[in-house]
Symmetry: C2
Subunit: 331 residues, 2 copies
Amino acid sequence: MRIALDAMGGDHAPQVTVEGAVWAAREYGLEVALVGREELLAAELAKHDTAGLSLPLIQASEVIDMKDEPAAAAKAKQDSSMVVGMNLVKGGQADGFFSAGNSGGVMAAALFRLGRLPGIKRPALTALYPTARGSCVVLDIGANTDCKAEWLLQFGIMGSAYAETALGIQRPKVGIVSNGEEEGKGSTLVKEAYVLLKESPLNFIGNVEGKDIPAGLADVVVTDGLTGNVIIKLSEGLTKFLTGVIEKEIRSSALTALGGALARPAFKRAKKVLDYSEVGGAPLLGVNGVVLVGHGRSDAKAIKNGIGAAQRGASGGMLAAIAASLADMGL
Amino acid sequence: MRIALDAMGGDHAPQVTVEGAVWAAREYGLEVALVGREELLAAELAKHDTAGLSLPLIQASEVIDMKDEPAAAAKAKQDSSMVVGMNLVKGGQADGFFSAGNSGGVMAAALFRLGRLPGIKRPALTALYPTARGSCVVLDIGANTDCKAEWLLQFGIMGSAYAETALGIQRPKVGIVSNGEEEGKGSTLVKEAYVLLKESPLNFIGNVEGKDIPAGLADVVVTDGLTGNVIIKLSEGLTKFLTGVIEKEIRSSALTALGGALARPAFKRAKKVLDYSEVGGAPLLGVNGVVLVGHGRSDAKAIKNGIGAAQRGASGGMLAAIAASLADMGL
């Protein structure tokens, strides 16, 4: 198994990407191809003990950064680490690709180089969301803002196949985000997609409200890209706000500060439960290849876990499972 | 000043509604008209010391409860506490109305009895959302799922007038919820509404992402009713999940449990910051009267605060401010 890594992608590349790659190669016994500026990557690699590890360097002279307009950059920068990485997947020289760079750029490069899976109307950006029962798959989280009901059905199919093959959840429960639990609640789009999901062979549980997502009511949460993006970013912001308020209150008196110090290990564990870096990478579903996207702020551990998620995606038969579901449903 | 209270509305009515009314009458020096089943309310009132307070009972034999279909119930139950309360406002016998009952029922009763403010296309359900800088006004949170750009502009106008007159915020910063900060990000609806808001005299700050809401970037957060509903309910669910994870981790060892016990006053204060009952009531904006809606789970304090919010809405000239803004803009 060989995973290609966008060694130039993310806020702290190439230091943390190279560190994460070394870590992943050792922990998972994988070959990790580092795609980017060779001389930079070689210098970073030299800082690590890589004896016995397979970490080939693949030259790519350009970088698609956070400021680039995704589609234009993916077209113009043919020698960027993202495009070169996609070419490795397309040519069969890599089983999957992981990037913590500009997620729009990853999407555009994947669409141009790999294309869509047969039958898929729109690929979806996906997130793994920590819940009271483990984690759920939320999609779309930003690739498609104006959606059609059929796309939402396909998001359900793809999310369900991913939850089954990469997360090991049997018959994942699929819900659609709405402003009420009852059938008939929601926008016209939600009501139309509800009917399609209900008629499909998916394990559809109906509408889920905002509060049901962290409660873990559904394994797969289907929504349009605007609402999904708000769900992910609001959760990030609210977690920061809540822990900030608690920490401020704890520091406000000597007694509560002492209590806070004693309780610190508990806080650390709680933060770990909610930490994106434990997950590391979320799949770009619907493109013809295994492509995982990580958070721009990824640290070495998140990069390592992202590479691991790409490995699971590639070995679990995610693409075949999506294709089979689509075929089952005559799509 | 006389505020009418739906004494039958909410999960714990009439006990907590009567208790909250007594509290409000004493704290704010207000007349609070208790609308509902007279004999029930008289029995509750008898449990309190009401010497010197003005708490008239207004008979209403019916109740619109949580299971009722709002529009049908508001039409059929003409002697319900909601409809009778609205009649008091319409007839000038009350300056404002507060209910912690079925919010759809309040909306329907308000539309039937009070109607819309001249020029307003759709009323909006509004929430006060605690942020790092105080609180912001979020609307719509569930009354309108399929919106038009012009409605979102009007939500901005109404939210801004409310933030100014009832919360005392000068030139409130108005943002629209989107999946990216930059102009041009968002659905077709968001992009159209962006242009209208930008051209308006409002203090429009552009797109806000999910994470910007708890950070307090905007004083008024404009969105469609589905997304707004998800924002409010997700925040409720995530707060519960996060504090649950922290509490579970704290209880998991003797040392962290001791720390947690010492830090408890800090947790209590933190929860207070995030507590809806501190706010008590959110306005139904766009109807021709001051109408505030509270959470079904409201306790006596939330009822008291909701009555206080109705008083501020009535005395601050909220309706006049909305009407003036609309006139300014030729709407």
